[in-house]
């Protein structure tokens, strides 16, 4: 018999076998019905609040407590009953779902937000999630209440429909995708949760401001802050930029006229920022920084440098429909330097007529299309 010499002197190892069997049995027991979840989330105060109240930790804690009382936690998000909300006319915790499907509610929306949005937008909607690093543009920090791409004028807070529109269309040219794979009712609840986070963020900074001014946080002051914040949201539905009838056709004449308006410093004056070729290299938008490098002259409401859109790319963040660009020209972009030309008056007359704005729209669109100049 030829047998390997190593085999002979190995004794049995019953202890080890028993241990293995026990481990296997344990694994089986654990495997049945094992359903891990996430650790519970918590809202933190924003960086701005923390630095503003650096030497007043007691106030910081008080504001954090106040916010929890008013808005709950990510696992139990709810607007606490308050007279300020009664002005809304609807129960903010249960707005009607227009699609007729059962409305998931804010808690379910928070779970959707956790899966779909949190990695970029962060727990509080601060645009500071772990995956936000390096994204240009950075994910929206909704806590300021400013939403850049809406159909509204006067730098208004968005309607639910505006947030929904962004969820349905995404933001072209950025990492913000569309969410059409979620059911309409789920999208609606998600829009409501985004609004909830925005309002919560606005209340947070309002409370800090109130404390700065009054050195205390009385229930009345809190109520005033809530009323103030909500008043801005309540106005949104009346701010829609509407254009009746069909969009004027993109004729050669209109494009040529748009070209002239685009470059006319007394009319559109678009070239001053967007550049003569629309490349976003206009002199007004750029300055020479301390290091001698060219850098953007403007920054947005979040303190980030803003470059004018290179219109030749054809990537329009607010949508590429003619009406989207019309609204951008008419109402500007909240939180950024893009002016609201439709609202600008000159010598008691509107600076641009509606027809002139359509000419600009067609010229701007033509820059990325074949029949462009």
């Amino acid at each position: 018999m030829f047998r390997p010499t190593i085999r002979e002197r190995r004794a049995r190892t019953p202890a080890l076998q028993r241990a293995t069997a026990a481990a296997a049995a344990l694994c089986l027991c654990v495997a049945c019905g094992f359903e891990p979840g996430p650790a519970p989330l918590e809202f933190s105060l924003s960086g701005a609040t923390q630095s503003a109240l650096e030497d007043a930790p007691a106030v910081r804690d008080q504001i954090a407590r106040e916010l929890t009382t008013l808005f709950g936690t990510p696992s139990q998000p709810a607007y606490a009953p308050h007279p300020a909300w009664d002005a809304a006319g609807v129960d903010l915790n249960q707005p009607d779902a227009s699609a007729g499907a059962p409305y998931p509610g804010l808690a379910a929306a928070a779970e959707t937000y956790r899966r779909e949005c949190l990695h970029c937008h962060g727990v509080e909607g601060g645009g500071d999630g772990p995956s936000a690093f390096g994204l240009t543009p950075a994910p929206r920090d909704v806590r300021l209440g400013i939403f850049k791409y809406t159909a509204l004028k006067d730098q208004s807070r968005p309607r639910r429909a505006d947030i929904l529109h962004t969820l349905e269309q995404g933001i072209a040219g950025t990492s913000m995708p569309n969410f059409q794979r979620l059911a309409p009712a789920v999208r609606e609840s998600l829009a409501d949760y985004v609004r909830y986070l925005a309002i919560r963020g606005e209340v947070e900074s309002a409370l800090v401001l109130t404390w700065r001014e009054e050195e205390e946080l009385s229930p009345e002051a809190v109520g005033e802050a809530l009323t103030f914040v909500w008043s801005r949201w309540a106005k949104a539905p009346s701010k829609l930029v509407v254009y009746e009838g069909e969009v004027p056709a993109a004729s050669k004449e209109r494009i040529a006229r748009g070209d002239a308006l685009f470059h006319d410093p007394l009319k559109g004056n678009c070239a001053s920022c967007h550049g003569t070729s629309g490349a976003g290299d206009g002199p007004a938008a750029w300055k020479i920084g301390v290091d001698g490098q060219r850098e953007p002259a403007y920054s947005d409401a979040w303190g980030r440098p803003i470059r004018p859109r290179d219109l030749r790319e054809g990537l329009f963040h607010g949508g590429s429909r003619p009406i989207d660009i019309y609204r951008r020209i008419y109402a500007g972009i909240p939180g950024g330097p893009m002016p609201a030309l439709g609202e600008t008056m000159k010598d008691g007359e509107p600076l641009l007529s509606s027809e002139e704005m359509w000419c600009l729209v067609h010229y701007v669109r033509s820059l990325s299309l074949r029949e462009g100049p």
Partner: protein, 576 residues
């Protein structure tokens, strides 16, 4: 220990020492890469839930749930580590150093210093790769394939910044490391063989390392060139792989870098090396398994010459099939046809090898040792992995299969079921030769049974996942409603993977147990013919092929290759 002695110990030019350094470094990396695999599996079974251990540390604010970009880093690092820092160094670096000189009767390597540097360039490569985890933006996140422009443009992804640069540097250094080793092996095998050791008397393990090294010598410069070009694209803002008119992550590239290049160019350069690299990962494994089957089957390898020619054929054809990774890449359809034909052709030598292994076992006297079990496991799993390759070779079918989990199943059967099983077979077989200590056979068999069963539990059902369309590199397949019903399968696979990883503790126990036993002379425990088991100090004179088992004209059932180690002397030892 004095300073010079410690220096001699770390920077030894002794090939066996270098082999052991390679062995333990790659085994440590195997553990690391395996942990990453478990993290990946966790995410696929229970996406967006608290990840054990790392979730709490890395993602304290977002519910201890890993982020999607960290997931991409995980699978990028898993692939890179397993290929470049586990399988290739294990098979070529460790087994090559420990076996090749001994098997061909060479006292030392042709270039001992080059050989030492081969190991010592791998260490900074590993350091660079892992450093990626600690830089801003995190590690490389564009997959182990590093496709441009995702990888070549710094704004492409979160990890496309410093992390990707470090990854490329690591890749280049590991390439240099492999190249130094490969040159050493090719030269050693070409010039340092003992008297009488003709090429056709070399054990197949040596042939495996030889062909793998030849592949590396020829193909690696291409990857190095590609890597340097991508590094230039990133650091010098050249545009080899960046076409015109791109806007990546808000950055218009025409304004900031040279453009006008081609993303397909990177794929060609990358796969021109990395497809042969697949064979680098399997040729030595084939050699090891051939040897183990023969020794423990007490029977000569069936069709030694066809086996050698098949290795050489794979080596040559390996250069002609890289395009089969690119059937849907946008490459010309005519090129697709050509690469399909060459891919079907390369299936032939692999099947010849399989038939020869089976024929080797025909009427053998099989000793079911742990080593033999792993070798048999290799053959079985290699068959599965090889067969599923045919789906991918057929262009119209690959259109569906490409980038799904079928591909993941396929290459894990080859690389885990194949290469890793061969590594275990080799370790159980040669451990007494390497360390003067024997591994426990009982534990070894226990190790095999669990590993074999669990490997199939982990990878088999991935075929079905892929056929259902489940894509690779997804952090959450259930984004698609059509994959929701695959959740139980993924949960099963994840539990199996956890069990598979846990089961490797048996091997660790075995290693520790062997370490606790005193070192002693084991002689030639398997009574193998080849030279590495020789104990005589004199220079061998080779008279036979490596597989003279069960010769009817000999007293013993084996005949050593070299003259001065006669079977009579050895068989006079006490037998069981």
């Amino acid at each position: 220990m004095s300073e010079s002695a410690s220096k001699a110990r770390w920077f030894s030019t002794d090939h066996e020492h270098i082999g052991r350094q390679y062995l333990f470094t790659s085994l440590a990396m195997l553990v690391l890469g395996g942990m990453m695999a478990l993290a990946i599996r966790w995410q696929l079974a229970w996406p967006w839930t608290e990840m054990p251990l790392i979730g709490r540390v890395l993602f304290p604010k977002t519910g201890h749930v890993i982020s999607p970009d960290f997931y991409t880093v995980l699978f990028t690092m898993h692939g890179t580590i397993m290929i470049f820092f586990v399988i290739i160094p294990l098979l070529v670096g460790a087994f090559g150093n420990l076996l090749v000189p001994a098997m061909i009767g060479a006292r030392e390597m042709a270039f001992p210093r080059l050989n030492m540097w081969s190991y010592w360039t791998m260490i900074p490569a590993i350091a660079c790769l892992l450093a990626g985890f600690f830089v801003e933006g995190g590690g490389a996140a564009s997959g182990w394939t590093g496709y441009a422009p995702l990888a070549s443009v710094t704004s492409g992804a979160q990890g496309s910044g410093t992390g990707q640069t470090l990854w490329l540097v690591a890749l280049l250094m590991s390439g240099v490391s492999s190249l130094l080793g490969a040159i050493t092996y090719v030269t050693t095998i070409a010039t340092h063989r003992a008297r009488g050791m003709t090429l056709m008397r070399m054990p197949l393990t040596v042939w495996g390392v030889f062909t793998a090294s030849a592949l590396q010598v020829v193909a690696l410069p291409m990857l190095t060139a590609g890597g340097l070009l991508q590094l230039a694209d990133r650091l010098l803002l050249t545009g080899f792989f960046t076409p015109q008119n791109l806007v990546i992550n808000g950055v218009a590239l025409d304004a900031v870098a040279a453009t006008g290049g081609s993303p397909l160019l990177w794929q060609h350069l990358f796969w021109f090396y990395s497809h042969p690299a697949v064979y680098v990962m399997v040729l030595p494994a084939m050699g090891i398994v051939s040897d183990v089957l023969s020794v423990h089957g007490r029977k000569p390898v069936f069709g030694y010459k066809p086996m050698v020619w098949a290795l050489c054929a794979i080596c040559v054809l390996g250069f002609l099939v890289w395009g089969h990774h690119m059937f849907v890449s946008g490459m010309s359809p005519a090129a697709g046809t050509a690469f399909m034909l060459s891919t079907f052709v390369i299936a032939l030598p692999s099947s010849i090898k399989t038939f020869n292994w089976l024929a080797t076992l025909h009427r053998a006297r099989i000793q079911l040792t742990a080593s033999m079990l792993f070798a048999l496991g290799f053959v079985a799993l290699f068959i599965i992995g090889g067969l599923s390759g045919l789906w991918m070779a057929a262009t119209p079918v690959d259109v569906y299969i490409n980038n799904t989990y079928v591909v993941v199943a396929h290459f894990h059967f080859i690389v885990f079921g194949g290469s890793v099983f061969a590594v275990f077979a080799g370790l159980y077989h040669w451990y007494p030769r390497f360390f003067g200590r024997a591994l426990d056979e009982r534990l070894g068999k226990l190790h095999f049974v669990g590993t074999f069963v669990l490997t199939n539990c982990v990878f088999l059902m991935m075929h079905q996942l892929g056929l259902a369309g489940m894509l690779r590199r997804t952090a959450d397949p259930y984004v698609y409603g059509m994959f929701e019903h695959l959740r139980p399968v993924n949960v099963f696979i994840t539990w199996s993977a956890i069990a598979l990883a846990a089961w490797q503790l048996v091997f660790v126990v075995n290693l520790l147990k062997a370490r606790a036993t005193p070192r002693r002379e084991h002689g030639n425990p398997w009574r193998a013919c080849s030279l590495e088991w020789r104990t005589a100090a004199s220079a061998p004179i080779v008279e036979h092929g490596p597989y003279e088992y069960s010769r009817p004209d000999a007293n013993s059932d084996w005949l050593p290759q070299a003259r001065d180690d006669t079977p009579e002397r050895v068989s006079s030892r006490p037998q069981s």
